[in-house]
C-alpha cells in the first residue's frame, strides 16, 4: 500500500524528477583564496590540468578524450599538453587498463578514463588480477601506483541499464586498490589530485548526475584532500547517516525534513570507500547509537553491507536499532522504473523514522 502511494507520487512528478540538487554547506579544510564558481566537470578538468602541469610524466587517455570527452572533463588538455600526453584509445577497456598498468609500472602517472562505469567490466580482470596484486606478488619490486582510473558512475535520470550503474562494491572487495568517490566540485578536485599522486592504483568514480548540476566555489590553486578520511558534513545526535557521491544530496534533504520532526541527524561522507575510515563512523555511532547507510547500488552485497557488518562488530552493545540500509533494489538498473528503483528522499526519511522509533 505504502509502495503504491509513493509510486503514485512518482508518476505524477514524472521520470527524472530530481531537479536541482542543492549542495551541502559542509566545511572543508581548504583555504578559500581565489576561488571560482564552477561545476563538477570543470573542477575535474582543473585537477587534470594541474596534474599534467606538475608532473611531466603524467598521461591522460581513454575513449574520445582528446576533443574534451563526452562529459567535457578533458577539455583543453590535448591542446595544452599535446597529443603525446593526451590521446584517444580505441574502444577496448581491457586494453586501456592493461596499457595503463604497464605505463604506470614504468614510473609514469597513467590517468585512464573509462567512458561510463558500466563499461568497466571488460577491464575488471586487469584491475583485480593485475593492478591490485602487482606490488604484492613482486615483493615490492614493481608497482602500478601511478595508475588512476576515472569513470562516471551512477544514475542520471534516464540512463537505463548501461549508463547508470554503480559498481563501486565490486572494487571494494579487492585489496590492493583504492576506491574514491567525491560528492561535490571542491571535493572532486582535491580528491582527484590526491588519487593521482597517491602511490597506489585508484579507481575514482565521478557522479555523472552532478557534472553540470553541482556548482560550488572551488579554489583555483593546487590542493589535495586526504584519502581514507571520512568527513562529518552535518552534526547530529540521534542517528548517523553514511553515504557517498550524489546520494549525499538526497540524504541531506531527508535530514533537513527529519529535523522538522525533531530528529537530529549526523551525516557522514565516506569519500574513500576502500580503505574506509572506520574510526570516524564508529565514533559517530557511539554518539548516536543508530546508523543508516544509503547508496544507489543494489542493496544485496552493496558496500553498505560491509559498513553494516563492521559497525555491528565494533559497536554492538551501543546500537539501539538494527543498521538500516536504503539502497537500490535487487534488479538490473531499470529504464522506465528508475524513480521506483532509486533510494529516494522519502525512502530515506521513512527509514530514519523507523530506526529512531525502533
Amino acid at each position: 500500500m505504502a509502495l503504491r502511494n509513493i509510486i503514485g507520487k512518482r508518476i505524477g512528478n514524472g521520470i527524472g524528477l530530481v531537479g536541482r540538487r542543492s549542495l551541502s554547506t559542509a566545511t572543508c579544510d581548504v583555504e578559500n583564496r581565489n576561488s571560482k564558481s564552477m561545476n563538477l566537470y570543470s573542477a575535474i578538468n582543473q585537477a587534470l590540468h594541474l596534474a599534467l602541469e606538475t608532473d611531466p610524466r603524467a598521461f591522460v587517455f581513454g575513449e574520445d578524450v582528446s576533443f574534451g570527452g563526452v562529459f567535457r572533463c578533458t577539455t583543453g588538455l590535448a591542446d595544452r599538453f599535446g597529443k603525446a600526453r593526451v590521446f584517444n584509445t580505441p574502444l577496448c577497456e581491457q586494453g586501456i587498463v592493461g596499457f595503463g598498468i604497464g605505463l604506470a609500472a614504468m614510473g609514469n602517472r597513467a590517468i585512464a578514463e573509462i567512458q561510463f562505469a558500466d563499461y568497466i567490466y571488460p577491464a575488471f580482470d586487469q584491475i583485480v588480477n593485475e593492478a591490485a596484486k602487482f606490488r604484492y606478488r613482486s615483493g615490492n619490486q614493481f608497482n602500478c601506483g601511478g595508475l588512476t582510473i576515472r569513470a562516471p558512475y551512477g544514475a542520471v535520470g534516464h540512463g537505463g541499464h548501461y549508463h547508470s550503474q554503480s559498481p563501486e562494491a565490486f572494487f571494494c572487495h579487492v585489496p590492493g586498490i583504492k576506491v574514491v568517490i567525491p560528492r561535490s566540485p571542491r571535493q572532486a578536485k582535491g580528491l582527484l589530485l590526491s588519487c593521482i599522486r597517491d602511490p597506489n592504483p585508484v579507481v575514482f568514480f565521478e557522479p555523472k548526475w552532478l557534472y553540470r548540476l553541482a556548482v560550488e566555489e572551488v579554489p583555483e590553486h593546487d590542493y589535495m584532500l586526504p584519502l581514507s578520511e571520512a568527513e562529518v558534513i552535518r552534526q547530529g545526535s540521534d542517528i548517523t547517516l553514511v553515504g557517498w557521491g550524489a546520494q549525499l544530496t538526497i540524504m541531506e534533504q531527508a535530514c533537513i525534513e527529519a529535523e522538522k520532526d525533531g530528529i537530529s541527524c549526523e551525516l557522514i561522507d565516506l569519500k574513500t570507500l576502500m580503505p574506509w575510515d572506520k574510526e570516524t563512523v564508529e565514533a559517530s555511532v557511539r554518539k548516536t547509537g543508530r546508523v543508516l547507510i544509503s547508496h544507489e547500488a543494489p542493496v544485496t552485497g552493496g558496500f553498505g553491507a560491509e559498513i553494516s557488518a563492521s559497525i555491528v562488530e565494533r559497536c554492538f552493545l551501543r546500537l539501539e536499532a538494527p543498521v538500516a540500509r536504503v539502497c537500490g533494489l535487487d534488479t538490473p538498473f531499470p529504464l522506465v522504473f528508475e524513480p521506483f528503483y532509486m533510494p529516494s528522499k522519502n525512502k530515506v526519511l521513512d527509514a530514519i523514522k523507523a530506526t529512531v522509533d525502533y
Binding site: E63, H158, G159, T331, F337, A351
Partner: protein, 394 residues
C-alpha cells in the same frame, strides 16, 4: 507521358532509347512482377582469402520496390524518432540508423527468418527488417507496454524471438561472442541456418571479437561477422582507432569481403554468398562500407568530428534510397509520382503509429521485479525502507 520521363531523367541514355515503350501502362501491376532483372553493383567486391562473388545481382521489380518501401519506412521512422526524442517522449539513449538502411534491407533479402541476426544498439531498422512492427518500435522507444520488450528495454534492447532476432545490446562488442554461440547451436541442430553477428568499426577493436573469431574458425561455425563500418566509432574516426581499417582483412585466417553498404543489392549478394560460404567452410567477415547521417546518438550533434560537407556529400552521392529510386526509374518500374506516393503513404503510416503508440500505457510498477530470474521466482519488495522482500517460489 514519354515527355515526363525524358524530363525527369534526361541524362540517362537508357531512357532516351526507349521512350515509347515506357509510356505504355500495360506493365503494371508492379508489386507482384517477378521477372528477373540483372543489375551491376556500384563497385566490385574486394575479397580476402576467398573468391569474390560476381558483380551482377539478380533481382526483380517486386524486390526493388519492396527495398524502396522498406528503406523509406526505416528512414521516416528514424527521423520521427529524432523528433520524438527532442520532444522528450523518448528518453534515455537513442541511436539512429538513417543512412545505413541498405544493410538491414539487403541482408533480409538474402536470408530467412530462421537465420539468426544479432546486433548492437543501433537496432531499430534491423528489428523492422526482421518483421517487427512500427507500433512495437515506437512503443518500446517511449517505454510503453506495447513495445517489443514490454517497455523494459528501450531503444537499445529490441528483440524478436519468433524471427530469431537476438537484439539489441548496449555493451560494445559483447554481442559478437554471443552470436558465435548462436552459430554453435545452429551447427548442432543441422538445420542449414547461419548467424549474422553485426558490430561497428569501433567494436572491431574489442578483444572479445578476436576470441570469438578464433573459436568460430577452429570449430567451423556458420557464423558471419558483419562489420557495419560507418567510419566513426562514436566520435573517433576509424583511422584514429585502428591500425588497419581494412576490417574485412582483420580475420587473417578467416576470409573476408568488402561490400558497398549503401547499395542494397551488393549487400544482398554478399550476404547470400556469405551464407553459402559459412555453411560449407565456417566463418567469414563482411565489411559493409556504410555511413550514418545522424551523430552517434541523439546527444551527439555529429558535426564536431566530421564536416557538414562530408555528410551532405555522402547524402548526395551514395544515399541508399536514392540509388534504388534511380534504379527503379531507369528500369521504368514505377513513375516518380508513384514513388512519391509510397513515401507519403509511409509517412502517414509512421504518424498514425506514433499516435497509436502514445496511447499505450507505461508498464505496471510491479513489472520492475518481474523477469529478474526465471518465471515464478518473482520478488516483491515492501516496507518502510523497501528492504523486506517476499519471493514467491515456483
Amino acid at each position: 507521358m514519354a515527355l515526363s520521363y525524358l524530363r525527369s531523367s534526361s541524362s540517362r541514355s537508357v531512357n532516351l532509347l526507349k521512350p515509347l515503350s515506357s509510356s505504355l501502362p500495360l506493365r503494371r501491376p508492379i508489386s507482384t512482377d517477378t521477372t528477373p532483372i540483372t543489375v551491376e553493383t556500384s563497385v566490385p567486391f574486394t575479397s580476402h582469402q576467398c573468391d569474390a562473388p560476381s558483380r551482377s545481382v539478380e533481382t526483380n521489380p517486386k524486390e526493388l520496390l519492396t527495398f524502396f518501401r522498406d528503406m523509406a519506412l526505416m528512414r521516416r521512422m528514424e527521423i520521427a524518432a529524432d523528433s520524438l526524442y527532442k520532444a522528450k517522449l523518448i528518453r534515455g539513449f537513442c541511436h539512429l540508423y538513417d543512412g545505413q538502411e541498405a544493410v538491414a534491407v539487403g541482408m533480409e533479402a538474402a536470408v530467412t527468418k530462421k537465420d539468426c541476426i544479432i546486433t548492437a544498439y543501433r537496432d531499430h531498422c534491423t528489428f523492422i527488417g526482421r518483421g517487427g512492427t512500427l507500433l512495437e518500435v515506437f512503443a518500446e522507444l517511449m517505454g510503453r507496454q506495447a513495445g517489443c520488450s514490454k517497455g523494459k528495454g528501450g531503444s537499445m534492447h529490441f528483440y524478436k524471438k519468433d524471427s530469431n532476432f537476438y537484439g539489441g545490446h548496449g555493451i560494445v562488442g559483447a554481442q559478437v561472442p554471443l552470436g558465435c554461440g548462436l552459430a554453435f547451436a545452429q551447427k548442432y541442430s543441422k538445420d542449414e541456418t547461419v548467424t549474422f553477428a553485426l558490430y561497428g568499426d569501433g567494436a572491431a577493436n574489442q578483444g572479445q571479437l578476436f576470441e570469438a573469431l578464433n573459436i568460430s574458425a577452429l570449430w567451423d561455425l556458420p557464423a558471419i561477422l558483419v562489420c557495419e563500418n560507418n567510419h566513426y566509432g562514436m566520435g573517433t574516426a576509424e583511422w584514429r582507432a585502428a591500425k588497419s581499417p581494412a576490417y574485412y582483412k582483420r580475420g587473417d585466417y578467416v576470409p573476408g569481403l568488402k561490400v558497398d553498404g549503401m547499395d542494397a543489392l551488393a549487400v544482398k549478394q554478399a550476404c547470400k554468398f556469405a551464407k553459402e560460404h559459412a555453411l560449407k567452410n565456417g566463418p567469414i567477415i563482411l565489411e559493409m562500407d556504410t555511413y550514418r547521417y545522424h551523430g552517434h546518438s541523439m546527444s551527439d550533434p555529429g558535426s564536431t568530428y566530421r564536416t557538414r560537407d562530408e555528410i551532405s556529400g555522402v547524402r548526395q552521392e551514395r544515399d541508399p534510397i536514392e540509388r534504388i529510386r534511380k534504379l527503379i526509374l531507369s528500369h521504368d518500374l514505377a513513375t516518380e509520382k508513384e514513388l512519391k506516393d509510397i513515401e507519403k503513404e509511409v509517412r502517414k503510416e509512421v504518424d498514425d503509429t506514433i499516435t497509436q503508440a502514445k496511447e499505450s500505457p507505461m508498464p505496471e510498477p510491479s513489472e520492475l521485479f518481474t523477469n529478474v530470474y526465471a518465471k515464478g521466482l518473482g520478488v516483491e519488495s515492501f516496507g518502510a525502507d523497501r528492504k523486506e522482500v517476499r519471493a514467491t517460489l515456483p
